[in-house]
Amino acid sequence: MSAPAVASSRPIADVCVIGAGLAGGLVAHALARQGRSVVVLEAGPRFNPATRHLLLAELLRSGASPWAGPVERDRFTNAGEIPYPLNDYRVKGVGGTTLHWTAYTPRLHEHDFALQTRYGMAVDWPVTYVELEPFYGDAESALGVSGNVDNPYASFRSTGYAMPAFPPSVGDAALTAACERLGMTTHSVPYARSTTRWEGRSPCRAFGTCASHQICPISAQYTAETHIARAEATGRVEVITGAIARRFELDTGGRIRAVIYGTSATPEAVVSARVFVLAAHAVESARLLLLSASSRHPDGLGNSSGLVGRHLMEHPLWAVHGRLRSSTFPFRIGFHTRETHHFCDHPHRARVGAFRLAFPNQPGPRPEDIARDSGAWGDGLAQEVRETFGRVVSVHGFSEQLPDPAHTVTLDPTVVDGFGDPVPRLTWGLSAYDRAAGRAAMTEAVRILEAAGADDISFPFADRFSFCGHQIGTLRMGDDPDASVVNRQLVCHDVPNLVAVGSSVFPTSSALNPSLTIAALALRAATHIPTIL
């Protein structure tokens, strides 16, 4: 046991949540509604939702991301085969990564939970889709998800959506018809974004900046600010911003008694609580446990399995472009409105990872890009822009990545942050299996584009792939304490009052975006936490 660094003047809270993002916000709100006192530590600031349009205006003017944090706070290093651009894909602040997400909220496929049983690959989740299904419904309701029940590849659902789905775009028509000819059914796309006014949230007005600029100026999509605000409104939740959790301290019984955090005012402040909920995303959650090493836990807290920080996963993005004879009138909505989950579960998954295929509504060059790329000017340029714009269509493949223990978050041995704590060091890459999924996704994308009559097929990414920005894994959930970090209730095997929520606990990645599953698991965890208080 390490000695308490500083005393706390704050009463002992029932629960301390570290991270005010999607998972942390939902847990804090659910516990507050149960009458629990909660302190939330958030490393970043509180952004004002009412001025989001100003952030967008500034972003459009200068190109500078409003979400970027101080270098000292967000420093990290890379040691892997492929450098991972972590800071492009995370936001520290109240709302967390939902401040700049695309609000795409699919449920995972039921077979995603049983990859080992069905395909002999990786591991099964300790929870099944059937167990999680009611919480998926709760999560869709909490986030306000729009969607239609028209996905023939989806697993069963017991509830409908809060709002109808966004209808397909003009550009979807050609690719949808091509898919049908190839035997792939396309379907609507679920989003935590409003098609109608919903619980005070404005309906989407097609500003077209949610994916490309990562800001909705009218807050038509969910951010975790919603649940943080509702939690605070109960009067039982205190949110401390600019509070960087530095380490946990244990009592003599092996339970966490406090978390030490630093701010701009002090390097060491303390919050004591009966239960601690780690909701700081896959990288910082793992880092905090590793920073909490002590004589009792020399390899890091909760790390008796040696798996803290291991199995870092992402959803690689594989894109293919083609050119149609006529315009699809793109860039009039900021997200895709049609996709196919035909390959989200397929019979060859033992050799080739799953993937989903989506049809972006902002593919190819904008008028500005055409003008910059062309050497024409004057009337010739005007004609070229008019004739060229809108003809590029794209198919994006998002693929599953298998958990690989060599893909890790560790502590950098030499680089430290502003408090002198080692920064996270990422080791990430793509296995042959992961690349096979990418090749398959691009093969199918080419088939769709050719069936749509597109020519000039091209591959926009120099290395064929880009990133989705989903950091998954690092605190694996499982029943075996030797092979996982947290149990099926997300309680740490080694520390009875530590709960981890977020994509860090996913044993496998699926090909589908993690946010709704993060929310469902968080809501499920909130029902269990009172039993360990």
Binding site: V170, A206, E368, R372, V385, A440, I457
Partner: protein, 190 residues
């Protein structure tokens, strides 16, 4: 699933001369600041030739605001604006006159010499433009011409040339507008 993925040969062979003909690099060590009124006038004259539809006062104001903003914000760009102005003032058959004082046909001739036009798909034209112009002209094209064209085409006037009244950053009067085909743009608007 379909056949094993193979990138088309055409794509694999898309090795451009850019790999061995390095592009100019913006010198970000030069200071930011504000161009002089004369420099702004020259850049406005350049813009009017690059984009004949910017001849209106509103468009000129937009370009002025953009240049002032960029020069104050982006390290290296003020120097490139100034270099481009010097290039325009000292190039062409009437180089004894400042660019803005030359007749329209002489300005056009200067531009054609400095920035030989080619379409994006015209690879030979692009190669010729890269190889047979001076380094100064290439830098002016890559930094200043591209910047001015970009500023216009991401503005309301630029999007209007493809028939759009709403575009990324500007909401739609009808949120379902994206589900409908737009009318072709009359040529006189573009």
């Amino acid at each position: 699933m379909g056949a094993t993925f193979r990138a088309p040969l055409r794509d694999q062979a898309r090795v451009t001369w850019k790999r061995w003909l390095p592009a100019p690099v913006l010198d970000s060590t030069t200071p930011t600041g504000r161009p002089s009124e004369a420099e702004l006038d020259t850049l406005a004259a350049l813009t009017a030739l690059l984009l004949p539809s910017t001849a209106s006062q509103a468009s000129r104001d937009l370009v002025h605001r953009h240049i002032i903003d960029q020069a104050a914000r982006v390290p290296g760009l003020l120097a490139e604006y100034r270099r481009a102005v010097r290039l325009l003032d000292t190039s062409g058959v009437q180089a004894r006159l400042p660019f803005t004082a030359r007749p329209a046909h002489a300005q056009l001739a200067t531009l054609r010499a400095l920035f030989p036009p080619y379409a994006a798909a015209d690879r030979v034209g692009r190669l010729r433009a890269d190889l047979f112009v001076t380094g100064g002209a290439r830098a002016a094209r890559d930094f200043v011409v591209a910047d001015l064209l970009g500023a216009f085409y991401r503005s309301r006037q630029g999007w209007a040339t493809v028939g759009y009244s709403h575009y990324p950053g500007v909401g739609a009067a009808d949120p379902l507008d994206y589900t409908r085909v737009l009318e072709p743009v009359p040529e006189h608007i573009a």
